[in-house]
């Protein structure tokens, strides 16, 4: 089916997954406020939200398999790049909801608001991934961020959660201000906020350089805040540590994924003609992010905080793909985001379980002897950590390898060396957790404080994600082809860089 927007029906088609989730989020919200607190913790609302995500995934698949668009000028792209990214966001939200089920019940959080905020945030992410207009990116970003601000501060009884919410809100809004000013300047310089039109204006040289260059710099700053690149990463460890752990998982995986997808589309498609100007600065940001993220992660004593720095480091690896800005890098970025979502939320699922559905037991000592007390959990966590480290045989390795291929195609040799060396450094802090789990004694009193149960839904998520990670580590071809086929749709506009 070809969407040419001749009838208003086509607009509905193009936005089907977003519309499904918007309506579903409202349904969950109404269902949540119309039930009484004493009727139980509200796990069924979580399942309701998951049903909505499943429906959105199916409609997304329908768009992927048979729908194309006429031209590349529309505000919303109906290309496979967007649709693949949508799946990644839906998967991340689904996993985050599953690991939230017991947590929300145990912490007595308001389930209706919690799950509907996650759904609305996913809608925002989808708009970021699909936007072919800078203003749409801003609106999607805000839709996502406002939901996440509330989620980060969701546990009103916990001081640290309130603090995380405030810090995330102030710095997030600050960063959006930069992004918005960048959009205004690019709009002034190119005469349009449409990415295709901006790209054309840049190619023709009809932009006003005095506005364009500061505009691009401000855009890059705004995005760098959102993808938590060094030196704009100050908020990340605090917010990730203070927010409720399932929310942290969602932030670390999906929010970052959405920011990267929008980042790539704006810079690779819209600002392709200015590559020489922005590539240098992003080169440095990527290098510093990889090095600083990995080095600071070495000295963390809290596993949650360590994972926060690890997510900064992964952001650095992904920035390499943006600097490379070619087809291989774009498909590598998509594949990496998928794998990163699975392994990050998986690792946080273990943190939630070890924390006994609360914020307890987050120190690395609390993982002492965990492997012997809870062998299955220990093995699963070990595989997840190995994959995060990029150990051969896991999907994390394949993903990193494809980022390197993309970087090699653009001849970024120094960046490749930094990526490989900082990966080697990262082995230390990932394996340190594994070492504590298998080689250390349990901390005193651990048996009484131990996680009594791993909720059944969390078990399923953990086993499935580890299975995917190992399978995709050994037989990655099917997923890689899907990612490569999806990334190709960007080239129609970008022209491809050698």
């Amino acid at each position: 089916m070809l969407l040419d927007y001749s009838s208003s029906f086509h607009y509905v088609m193009a936005l089907l997954p977003e519309l499904v989730l918007t309506v579903w989020g409202m349904v969950v919200l109404i269902a949540g406020v119309s039930r009484k607190q004493r009727e139980g913790p509200g796990q069924e609302l979580g399942w309701l939200a998951l049903a909505g995500l499943a429906l959105a995934a199916v409609t997304n698949g329908w768009l992927y398999s048979g729908v194309s668009e006429a031209g590349t000028g529309a505000m919303i792209a109906v290309d496979r790049f967007r649709l693949f990214a949508n799946w990644v966001f839906i998967l991340g939200a689904g996993m985050a909801i599953v690991i939230s089920l017991s947590y929300v019940a145990r912490q007595r959080l308001q389930a209706g608001e919690y799950y509907s905020l996650i759904l609305f945030a996913v809608v925002g992410m989808m708009f970021m991934g699909s936007a072919r207009d800078l203003m749409m990116i801003f609106l999607g970003l805000e839709l996502m961020s406002i939901g996440i601000y509330a989620l980060a501060g969701f546990n009103r009884r916990d001081r640290r959660s309130a603090e995380a919410g405030l810090k995330y809100f102030l710095l997030g809004a600050f960063a959006s201000g930069f992004l918005l000013f960048g959009i205004a300047l690019v709009y002034g310089a190119a005469g349009s906020t449409n990415i295709t039109a901006v790209a054309a204006a840049v190619q023709d040289g009809t932009t006003v350089a005095g506005l364009m260059i500061p505009g691009v710099a401000l855009l890059a700053t705004g995005f760098a805040f959102k993808v938590s690149a060094v030196p704009f990463h100050m908020w990340v460890p605090d917010v990730y540590e203070g927010a409720p752990t399932p929310v942290t998982a969602f932030m670390a995986a999906s929010v970052k994924a959405a920011a990267f997808v929008a980042f790539l589309r704006v810079f690779m498609v819209g600002l392709d003609g200015l590559y020489e100007q922005w590539a240098n600065i992003l080169w440095w940001i990527a290098a510093v992010t990889m090095v600083a993220g990995n080095v600071i992660a070495l000295v963390q004593s809290s596993v949650k905080r360590m994972l926060a720095y690890s997510s900064i480091a992964h952001g650095g690896y992904l920035l390499v793909a943006i600097v490379a800005a070619n087809d291989t890098a774009a498909s590598g970025l998509l594949f990496y985001l998928l794998v990163y979502t699975i392994m990050t939320i998986g690792a946080f699922a273990v943190v939630v379980t070890v924390g006994n559905q609360s914020e307890a037991n987050a120190r690395i000592e609390d993982y002492g002897g965990l492997g012997w007390r809870k062998p299955v959990l220990g093995v699963l966590m070990t595989v997840l950590l190995l994959s995060l480290a990029g150990f051969p045989g896991t999907a994390g390795f394949i993903a990193k390898y494809h980022l390197l291929l993309g970087a090699a195609e653009s001849r970024l040799w120094y960046l490749i060396v930094i990526l490989v060396l900082s990966t080697v450094v990262s082995y230390w802090y990932y394996l340190r957790v594994a070492w504590y789990m298998w080689m250390k004694e349990a901390p005193p009193g651990a048996d009484s404080a131990d996680p009594a149960i791993t909720p059944f839904a969390t078990r399923i998520v953990l086993v499935v994600s580890v299975a995917i990670i190992i399978l995709a580590g050994i037989f990655p071809d099917a997923v890689l082809e899907l990612a490569a086929g999806s990334a190709e749709s960007l080239r129609g506009v970008a022209g491809g860089r050698q």
Binding site: A162, F169, L170, F174, G188, G242
Partner: protein, 97 residues
């Protein structure tokens, strides 16, 4: 007229940015962020004279977003005030800033 308007917008934006960095009261910081957003609005309106009507439309988007942000932001500030009895960001030190 475009250059003075854009310069004024840039100056207001910088004042907002400095305010976020220098001030310690969470509400003042938030107001400085609003100042930034309104500086951008000014730029949009000024530019729309040359690029078409969209610029003025975007101002409405930005105002709506700012209102939504204010609702959530003030709620977060109230919730943290209940814990600390202050809105001075220097006092929120449970997490290493």
């Amino acid at each position: 007229m475009l250059t003075p308007a854009l310069l004024l917008s840039a100056v207001i934006f910088v004042i907002g940015t400095l305010g976020v960095i220098v001030r310690k009261n969470a509400i003042i910081i938030f107001l400085c962020i609003e100042l930034q957003l309104n500086a951008v609005n000014l730029a949009f309106v000024a530019l729309s004279r040359y690029t078409g009507i969209e610029g003025q439309l975007y101002v409405f988007f930005v105002m709506t977003v700012a209102a939504a942000e204010a609702a959530v932001g003030l709620a977060i500030i109230i919730s943290i005030f209940r814990h600390y009895e202050t809105v001075n960001v220097d006092k929120f030190n449970l997490l290493k800033w």
